[in-house]
């Protein structure tokens, strides 16, 4: 657990119940977590080189996760991103066309996922060497 202690994660999900569940669950496992229900607010507070990983919901009102990803990349090119979604992926053609080739299928987490599995997953992602 020591290893993950200093990792800082940003969670963006429009479901208040999920935002707080992810925040509590990840904090229990030693991560430092900032969490937002509103993607626009999250983006306006976003700073480069602050986070080790972003956990982004896809289907959100006003700004979906992909749009958030695009705008966020302009600010921080290097940060790792994992999408987490309850949606059917084929519905988001833009993901399969644009984001998949960039991120790889492994960076998409399907809801529902237990907190333990989610932690495991994020640790794996953070353990990998940064590609760029």
């Amino acid at each position: 657990m020591d290893k993950s202690k200093h990792y800082r994660i940003l969670v963006v999900d429009n479901e208040p119940d999920l935002v707080s569940a992810f925040k509590i669950g990840l904090e229990d496992n030693g991560f430092i977590v900032d969490a937002f229900e509103d993607p626009e607010v999250a983006l306006s507070n976003f700073k480069a080189d602050l986070y080790d990983l972003l956990l982004l919901d896809i289907k959100m009102p006003r700004m979906n996760g992909i749009e958030f990803y695009r705008q966020m990349k302009e600010i921080d090119e290097k940060v790792k991103v994992c999408f987490i979604t309850a949606s059917e992926l084929y519905f988001y053609e833009e993901i399969t066309k644009e984001v998949f080739p960039e991120l790889g299928v492994s960076r998409i987490i399907r809801k529902p996922i237990s907190i333990d599995d989610l932690v495991e997953y994020l640790k794996e992602e953070l353990g990998t060497i940064r590609c760029c």
Binding site: E15, A21, D28, M60, E88, K111, P112, S114, I115, D116
Partner: protein, 488 residues
Amino acid sequence: MEFADEVRHLDGLKANFSVSETEYLASASLSQQQKQQPTQQVQQVIYSNVKDIVEQQKYVFESFWNRAMPAEQRIREIEEGIEPEFYEVIVDRENATQILVDLSKSLKKEALFLLPNDKSIVRIDKIGIIDYLIKASQNEGTGAIMIICPISEVNSEIIKKVSENAPNIRIVNGNDSPYGMYIVDGHAFRAELKEPEADNFSEAIGFSVYSNRKNTVDFFKSVFELLWNERKLNEELIKTGKMQEEFINVASHELRTPTQAVLAYSQLVQKHPEKTEEMIQAIYRNAKRLQRLTNDILDVTKIESKTFKLNKTHFSLNDLLSSVVDEYKENIDKANIKVRLLHNEIDNEFFLIEADRQRITQVVSNLLDNAIKFTKGKVEDVEVIAKRESKKVDREIVVVNIKDTGSGIDTEILPKLFTKFVTKSETGTGLGLFICKSIVEAHGGKIWAENNTDGKGATFNFSLPLNKQSKQQGQQKQQEMFGGCQVS
């Protein structure tokens, strides 16, 4: 020889001849073109008194005579502007192009075009035909302008131009066909497609046929109609397929999201005794959300498979509205939502209905949920009113209005509000109002919605037929309730 003082009219004769009992005389001019020389007219005269030839030509004359119409009739037709029937095969492609241009230019009532491939609309646009159609569509009195055309990137610009400038012109996506068909105001023009990739209309077509014969035009029209209906059906099926796909996406999102919450909190609750109550609340909230969705999906399945059954009893709608409203008031207070719920009970009105109590409760709850959901934020009112309306002497109805002061209904979705999967909300499946409509209609009532005329919020209304004895029983019930207490 018998003399007949009758003159008849016949179109399209290429020669002159006369025939009597014993003689045959004919003249014809032939155009003869020789190399490097101007065209020369060659006059021919044929004379015969051979019996067989005379007999044969008499037979030819009679067949013409029988096809011809009395001259008086033709004169009348000319005076009335009636065009004689024709059926022409046109080989000259420039001529064919001109015919189509002229037809489109003169369009008054109806145009039905079957375009053979995606480039066809580009070709006919080049010779101004699309602009003529657009112009005609803007005139009052122009009827249907319908185009069946394979739609692709090749013609998207023109399709866009048509839909922007002439919403009355209807276009459906078609398949490639070996010919183009153009029916304009009782004229039918059909051109074979010889060079599908050609840039110009006259280069693309082979021979064509042009006619105003009623039978021909009717036949072309029926072919067009068959194709149109087939293409329309196809479009509907694609739309249904897309809607199903969207439903699967919405339903799976709506199923997995609360499941995620239940899964996460049931794990967390063990580690966080200090937050037990809060987390159990969250589990309960999300389990309820799952329950609602499950019920909605089951209801829709029942509606669609026509196994939706009502369990009707006689009860007072007043009581039902009061108890639903009271329950909501309690929940609003608990959840600290800034909505004021008003229920105006009209004095001395009692609405006895024969209905499925649980289903009507579901309708009222759904409409109230929506009203509250879209009113959240500041202190606003949601009003529930029931009033009697009589359509006919023997048919009285009660109309329930649920009026809010929220954000109103998006004008884009207003026309299809009660259709499945229509929602602007991120947390809805778009099933609720569809189910409400099905419930109300199963009771013989109607449901409708409108944005309030004062520009603030929306009103949802539904009607239900009143039980015939509603009035008498209402009075009776009032007497039962108040009779004994009345002070005389």
